[in-house]
Each structure stands twice: as structure tokens, then as C-alpha cells.
């Protein structure tokens, strides 16, 4: 048991990703998102999550994978890391499994277009290849350099 970790598996393009279950608060269906002006493009806006205003990040956009229109399987995975709580838009949320820690390998340079920086490791699971996300890095607010467009009035 010590060597196993429960993870939530989700789909992004053709890859399967995993995040530790203790970071996942809930999985929500797509819902209306209020756009927040002048933030980075991968921040899609905020939603009302049972009374809490929660920022939503499009993971495709975050990892610079081409964006697609949302479908019935699109989900928002609400994750919390430290004091930060945010929702990640993914193509589908598939599974919860116990992952043997020993099967985790260090990340190769590039996996499916995602910078190794955001990856904690990869795990082979029979025929599947799981990419373990480093949520701390993915949610690093320092990466949120707001692009200043037009100056405000003087």
C-alpha cells in the first residue's frame, strides 16, 4: 500500500495525464465561464463553484496544444495546491487508479508537446502511458504575466 498512489486520469488530445487524488476536489461538467479581461490567454475566466469564485485554466491552451470546442465529455477538474484553487479544463476525465510508485519514471524531454517542466514523471501501465503532472508548476501564478495592452488613460 505504501508504494501506491491514487491518481485521477484525464484525457488531453491523445494523451492520458494523471494528478494525485488528494489534489482533486471535484470534477465538474462544463459550465458558463465569466471571462476576465487582460489576463493570459489560458485563463479562461472564473466560474461560480458553489458560491466560490474559481479561476478556470484551459489545459490545452496552457500546454500550447491547439484548442478545440468543448464537447459533452469536457470536464473541469477542480484542483487545490496549497492556497491556490483552480479548475482545469480537460477533454475528458476517465478513471481513478492506484499507481505503483515504482512504475514512475523521470520525464523524457518532451511528451506530447508538454514541456518537461510541468511533468513530474511518466508511468507505464500495461499498454497505457500516463503523464504525471506537476500541479505546483502548472499552477505557478508567476507564470501569469498579464500582457499589458493599451495603457489606461492618463
Amino acid at each position: 500500500m505504501m508504494n501506491e498512489e491514487k491518481v485521477i486520469i484525464f484525457q488531453l488530445k491523445d494523451e492520458e495525464y494523471a494528478v494525485p487524488v488528494q489534489h482533486v476536489k471535484s470534477i465538474e461538467r462544463m459550465q458558463p465561464i465569466t471571462r476576465i479581461p487582460r489576463t493570459v490567454s489560458f485563463v479562461k475566466g472564473v466560474i461560480n463553484l458553489r458560491g466560490v469564485v474559481t479561476p478556470i485554466i484551459d489545459l490545452r491552451s496552457r500546454f500550447e496544444i491547439e484548442e478545440v470546442t468543448h464537447t459533452d465529455t469536457t470536464r473541469i477538474i477542480i484542483v487545490s495546491v496549497g492556497s491556490i484553487e483552480a479548475g482545469l479544463i480537460v477533454d475528458a476525465a476517465n478513471d481513478v487508479i492506484d499507481l505503483d510508485r515504482e512504475s514512475i519514471e523521470p520525464p523524457p524531454e518532451v511528451v506530447g508537446g508538454v514541456d518537461a517542466e510541468y511533468i513530474h514523471g511518466v508511468a507505464k501501465l500495461e499498454k497505457r502511458l500516463l503523464i504525471l503532472l506537476d500541479l505546483v508548476k502548472v499552477l505557478n501564478p508567476e507564470k501569469l504575466d498579464v500582457q499589458p495592452t493599451k495603457e489606461s488613460i492618463h
Binding site: P32, T34, R35, I36, P37, R38, T39, V43, G45, V46, I47, N48, R50, G51, V52, V53, T54, P55, G82, S83, I84, E85, A86, L139, P141, L144, V146, P148, T149, K150, S152, I153, H154
Partner: protein, 668 residues
């Protein structure tokens, strides 16, 4: 037994008990004969003793135990409440408070209190505590202490050939109408001279709140022997002792003088919170009927409730379309109940400002002592309620302003009397509701602000130029006190007005969504008015639509809304402007600033919201006004910390999130 889990409760409750003892002790000072107050103090002290003993804080427990003994002796009429008793009581309280603070900071609550314990034990045995005994010895046979003003009178009268005597009068033990005897003695003396001081105070004499003994200081041309004879003619007088007040008694060392002043001011510094007094007695009765709730749980409750409100809205719509009578009625009833529920939840977070105000009488007492001033604090409206979060934050700014009023506002007693004012200065601390705001005012009848000094200080510190200073109105001049460069260390001594760190006060209050203003009349006082929102979580906004997005603009920054014609838009330096009541106001197209997707054609008429930041204005171009609304303020969370021109969000009735505009960021 593992106690750490109870530590928080222990600290909280100890603080409450100490606060209550403090308050009651101040009341006791005003009416020393009131045994119900002593009982109240005893109860709190007793609980405190029990709690600290259980928690293993022996020093705390033993000190409260000694206090309890003294209180018990008072209850049983073994000793009388006097200023020396209260002094020791307050000294013990100081120790207890320090101990609790130390415990809350993780300490062991140990403290050297032997001296206070000794004093308490002495009191219990009916002796005068050592320290105070020493003081009395110092002053030879002087029974009274005189303040500057009284000394002045005595010295002057002596120069005019009057004698100043201290009379020590004892009534017979079987004297029935003590007050009547006192009155007769007064009558006698007033025929031959003037009474300048009594011990205990006159009102206490009149209400028979003394033993069989009292003292008077009088001025007369009669000889001591003569005075004595005359008084002895009043029946039921046991003994009269007449002592001359010597000149050297009037110049007692400054040390013991301040010591004495302290004692005197106990009588003079009093809080007259008339409204809260009857409340306190009723509070005492109902103290078991409240529970402590973690504020986070209340927040959760509020969030869940908002969800419910949103679903209620959906239900209402569904029931309308289904047109079922039964469903309609049920939904209506549910709406009503949930409306009431919402009110209850909101008011649950509200606490009376009393919680903050309570600590001030004691603070003023101490400050006045230290500064040698006489101050009377009048609290009005302590029952006014404010959101818990605001209450927690407002204490420090108020302390600062009150200190300011005593330090710079209220003059010394001599100066006051030379100006023909009452020697005792008054500070009013008022709280009241008005609309969606709570106002807190601190008014003193002190020296007021010297405009010229403020201006020269401001020029010296480079806040304004000399030219600018000439055109300032009074109001603008007083505003300078809040400028950040104004507070320098030497202001205290340089300026008889104000200005120490008021910028900090202002920042704090503004961070709470409030504002502060000051007004003053030189010579007759100053008033600071603080305006605070009722709660931090609810604000009034104007909802507007930009394309299909909804934004909330805080009403506090809106001057007005208007619909302007396209041809009225002018152009100056590539910036579109409008003429708004004779002022050129820049136009800000929100669609461009926020890069709102959607068409940009807005027809011939352009709705604008004129907003301000200080003196600057801007006209925000929107697509349409939705209307005014009360909203619940929500933060955007830890992830989105620096979003341009957005200060937060709110959830609208339909469950959608709307963003709140930060007008300060839009105007530079």
C-alpha cells in the same frame, strides 16, 4: 490531561473575563457603594481562577485567588472600596492581562507578582498597602492632594490673608443621618469661608457613601480654634481635627504628586456610557445563551446559502413555466423563508462595536494619568453593529485617534481653566448607522487644529508649496494631516495640533472600504468622522453591460450616470473627452480597455458612467445600465492576484459571476 486543545478557548474566555472585570472596576470607581458590581467582578475573577487552575497556570490562579479574597472582603463589608483598593485591583488586572497575552503567545504565563500579591493581602487584612503607605508618609499630614489649579487658589488665598485648613471630621458611630450632618457642617463652613475640596467627593458624601469619617479642605479668615468650635456645635460630631495646609505641602515632590494625581483622576476619569449600563446588567443574565462560531463556518454557510438562492431563482422560473398552482405556492413560500434565512445569516456576522469600545475607558484613564490631563470619555451608540471582520480591524485606528485627541487635542487643566473651559476635557466616541454605513466619530473639546502650524509643517516637509498653501480651504488644510509625508517624529513636540501617523490610520480605514474626514474649530475642538461599510462582504454597485458581459461598478466611485450624444464627444490630444458640467472629462471605452468581443456599434447615444478617483474623473463608456444592486463581494482567489482594473467578483442571481471594476486603476 492534554490541555492544548482547550488553550484557544481558555485564552478567549480569559480575555473576555478580564475585559468584564476591567469594565466593572471602572464602574465601581464611579459608584463604590454598589455591591452588585463587586459581585460581578467576583464572579468573573472566580471563573478565571478556576479556569487557570485547571489549565495549570498557577501564577494566574494564585493572583486571581488573592483578588478574590479582597473582593470577598468588600462584599462582606470588611473593607471599603477606596482609590487605593482600586489601584491595586487595576495593578493586578495589568498583571493578569500580561499573563494571558504571554500564554497566547505560547508562554507559560509566569510572572513576578509578589508585590501585587502582598498589596492584595494587606488590603484583605484591612491594612493600607505598603506602597501607598509610603506615599502618605511622604506627604506628612496632608490628607488631600491638590492639583495645580487648587494649589494656585490656596497659594493666592494665603497671599490675601486667608488660612487654608484641612479638617478631619469624625461622626459618632451611632449617627443616623450622616448626610444631614455633612450638610450642616457644610453650612457652618460656608458662613465663614469656602470649601475647596472634600474627601470623599461631595456626591458620595451626599449619598452617604462613606464610613464615619471625612475630610474637607477649606479657605477661611477664621482661626483654626474658631473653626473647630463652630463645627463641634453640630450634633453627633465626634471629633474635629484642624490642620494648617503648609506651603511646602503644596510643593510636594513631583513624583508623589503624580502618584496622587493618579488617585484623583480615578475619580475624574470616568466613562459615562449611559446606554450600555443597563445593558450590562441584562448581559450578565443572558451570558449563557450565546455560542462561539468559527467565522469560516459562517462563510461556508453563506456560500451554501447563496447556492440555495440561485437554485431558488431557477425553481421560480420553472414553476412559472409549469403554471402549477401547488408548485407556485410552495416555491413562493420557500422564497419567503429563504429570504428570512438570508437576513439571519447576514446578521449573525454582526457584532456590536461595544466589543472594541469597551477597552477605551481604561485606556483613556491610563493615558490621562500619564499626561496629567483630565479627560472624560463619553461613549454613545456602543450597541451599533458592524461586521465581525471590520470590528477586528477598526480597533487600532481608533486607539490612534483617541490617543491623538488626548495628546494633542485636550489641553492641560490649567490651560483649560485659563481659557474659561471646564478643567476636565471631554472626548465623545460615537457610533451610529446611516444608510448602508456605520459612522464612528471622535470629538474632543480641546484646542483644535492650528491651521497655520499645519501649513508651515506641510511646506517644511515638502508636501505642498508655499504658493499652493495660500489657496487652500480649511478642509483641504486639515486633509494635509493625513498626507504620508506629514508624520515625522518631531511633530509631537512641534505642533500643538495633530499629525502623528494619521496617514497610517487613513490607509487602514480605506483598506476597509471606508473613509475618514476631519473638521476642527481652533480653540473649541476637533472631530474625526470615520465612515465604514456595514460589512466588508456586501456593497452597493451599479451593474452595467458591455457587449454581453456584465460588470459591477461600486457606487462609492460613481458620480453619476449619463447618456451623451455622439456629437458631444470631443477630441483632445488623441483622447476622446466630454464636457461634463464645465469640466473636461476623458472618455474611456470599456470595450477597448477590456477587449470585449462583439460588435462595437453603439448608436447615436452613448451611455457613460462618470467615476472619480480623488479629484480626477473619467467617463466610462458602456453598452447599457442594468441597475443598482447590493452584491456580495467575492475575492478572485489566490491564483488571480493582479488582474488589471478588477477588484473582485460577485455572483449574480442567475448564478453567473460578474466582475467588479476597480475605478482607481482606470484613472491615473
Amino acid at each position: 490531561m492534554e490541555m492544548t486543545q482547550y488553550l484557544d478557548i481558555f485564552i478567549e474566555e480569559s480575555k473576555e473575563h478580564l475585559q468584564s472585570i476591567n469594565q466593572q472596576a471602572l464602574l465601581l470607581e464611579k459608584s463604590p457603594g454598589e455591591l452588585s458590581i463587586v459581585n460581578e467582578i467576583f464572579r468573573s475573577a472566580h471563573t478565571l481562577k478556576g479556569m487557570s487552575a485547571t489549565m495549570g497556570y498557577e501564577d494566574l490562579a494564585s493572583l486571581t485567588h488573592c483578588m478574590e479574597n479582597v473582593l470577598d472582603a468588600i462584599r462582606n463589608n470588611k473593607i471599603e472600596v477606596s482609590s487605593s483598593v482600586l489601584d491595586v485591583l487595576f495593578a493586578s488586572l495589568d498583571h493578569l492581562e500580561a499573563m494571558v497575552v504571554e500564554i497566547s503567545e505560547g508562554g507559560s504565563g509566569k510572572r513576578d507578582v509578589t508585590e501585587t500579591v502582598r498589596d492584595l493581602e494587606a488590603l484583605e487584612k484591612g491594612e493600607v498597602p505598603k506602597k501607598i503607605q509610603a506615599d502618605t508618609k511622604n506627604e506628612a499630614k496632608s490628607l488631600h492632594a491638590y492639583d495645580q489649579y487648587e494649589k494656585q487658589i490656596i497659594i493666592q488665598s494665603k497671599e490675601q490673608g486667608f488660612h487654608a485648613y484641612e479638617l478631619s471630621i469624625s461622626l459618632r458611630d451611632d449617627c443616623i443621618l450622616k448626610a444631614a450632618r455633612v450638610y450642616m457642617v457644610f453650612e457652618v463652613i460656608e458662613q465663614i469661608g469656602e470649601i475647596i475640596k472634600t474627601m470623599p467627593a461631595v456626591d458620595m458624601l451626599e449619598t452617604e457613601q462613606f464610613g464615619t469619617h471625612f475630610t474637607l479642605s477649606i479657605l477661611t479668615k477664621e482661626s483654626a480654634e474658631n473653626v473647630k468650635e463652630r463645627i463641634l456645635k453640630v450634633s453627633e460630631i465626634d471629633a474635629v481635627e484642624v490642620n494648617d495646609i503648609k506651603a511646602d505641602q503644596l510643593n510636594i515632590s513631583s513624583n508623589s504628586e503624580s502618584e496622587e494625581n493618579k488617585k484623583l483622576e480615578q475619580q475624574e476619569v470616568t466613562s459615562q456610557d449611559k446606554k450600555s449600563e443597563p445593558q450590562q446588567t441584562s448581559n450578565a443574565g443572558s451570558s449563557g445563551k450565546t455560542i462561539r462560531v468559527n467565522i469560516e463556518r459562517l462563510d461556508q454557510l453563506m456560500n451554501l446559502f447563496e447556492e440555495l438562492v440561485i437554485d431558488r431563482g431557477r425553481l421560480e422560473e420553472i414553476s412559472k413555466s409549469l403554471k402549477s398552482m401547488e408548485l407556485n405556492e410552495t416555491v413562493e413560500r420557500m422564497s419567503r423563508v429563504s429570504g428570512d434565512l438570508q437576513n439571519i445569516i447576514l446578521t449573525m456576522r454582526m457584532v456590536p462595536v461595544e466589543q472594541v469600545f469597551n477597552r477605551f475607558p481604561r485606556m483613556i484613564r491610563g493615558l490621562a494619568k500619564d499626561l496629567g490631563k483630565k479627560v472624560n470619555l463619553e461613549i454613545v451608540g456602543a450597541e451599533t453593529e458592524l461586521d465581525r471582520t471590520v470590528i477586528d480591524e477598526i480597533g487600532d485606528p481608533l486607539v490612534h485617534l483617541l490617543r491623538n485627541s488626548i495628546d494633542h487635542g485636550i489641553e492641560n487643566p490649567e490651560i483649560r481653566s485659563s481659557k474659561g473651559k471646564n478643567e476636565t476635557g471631554t472626548i465623545y466616541l460615537r457610533a451610529f448607522h446611516s444608510g448602508n454605513h456605520v459612522f464612528i466619530e471622535i470629538q474632543d473639546d480641546g484646542a483644535g487644529i492650528n491651521k497655520q502650524k499645519v501649513l508651515s509643517k506641510a511646506i517644511e516637509n515638502g508636501i505642498i508649496t508655499k504658493e499652493m498653501s495660500e489657496n487652500l480651504t480649511d478642509k483641504q488644510c486639515f486633509e494635509l494631516l493625513f498626507a504620508s509625508g506629514f508624520s515625522t517624529a518631531d511633530v509631537v513636540s512641534d505642533i500643538s495640533g495633530r499629525g502623528v501617523g494619521l496617514d497610517v490610520v487613513k490607509n487602514k480605514i480605506e483598506s476597509l472600504g471606508g473613509s475618514i474626514a476631519v473638521d476642527s474649530t481652533e480653540g473649541s475642538g476637533t472631530i474625526f468622522s470615520i465612515q465604514l461599510p456595514l460589512t466588508l462582504s456586501i456593497m452597493s454597485v451599479m451593474l452595467v453591460e458591455i457587449s454581453r458581459e456584465k460588470y459591477a461598478i461600486p457606487l462609492s466611485s460613481i458620480i453619476e450616470t449619463a447618456i451623451i450624444k455622439k456629437e458631444d464627444i470631443l477630441s483632445a490630444h488623441n483622447q476622446k473627452v466630454i464636457d461634463f458640467r464645465g469640466k473636461v472629462v476623458p472618455l474611456v471605452n470599456m470595450k477597448d480597455v477590456f477587449e470585449v468581443p462583439g460588435s462595437t456599434d453603439s448608436g447615436q447615444h452613448v451611455p457613460v458612467v462618470v467615476v472619480r478617483k480623488g479629484d480626477k474623473m473619467a467617463a466610462l463608456v458602456v453598452d447599457s445600465f442594468i441597475g443598482q444592486q447590493e452584491i456580495v463581494l467575492k475575492s478572485l482567489g489566490q491564483y488571480l492576484t493582479s488582474v488589471f482594473a478588477i477588484s473582485g467578483a460577485t455572483i449574480l442571481g442567475d448564478g453567473q459571476v460578474a466582475l467588479i471594476l476597480d475605478c482607481n486603476a482606470l484613472i491615473k
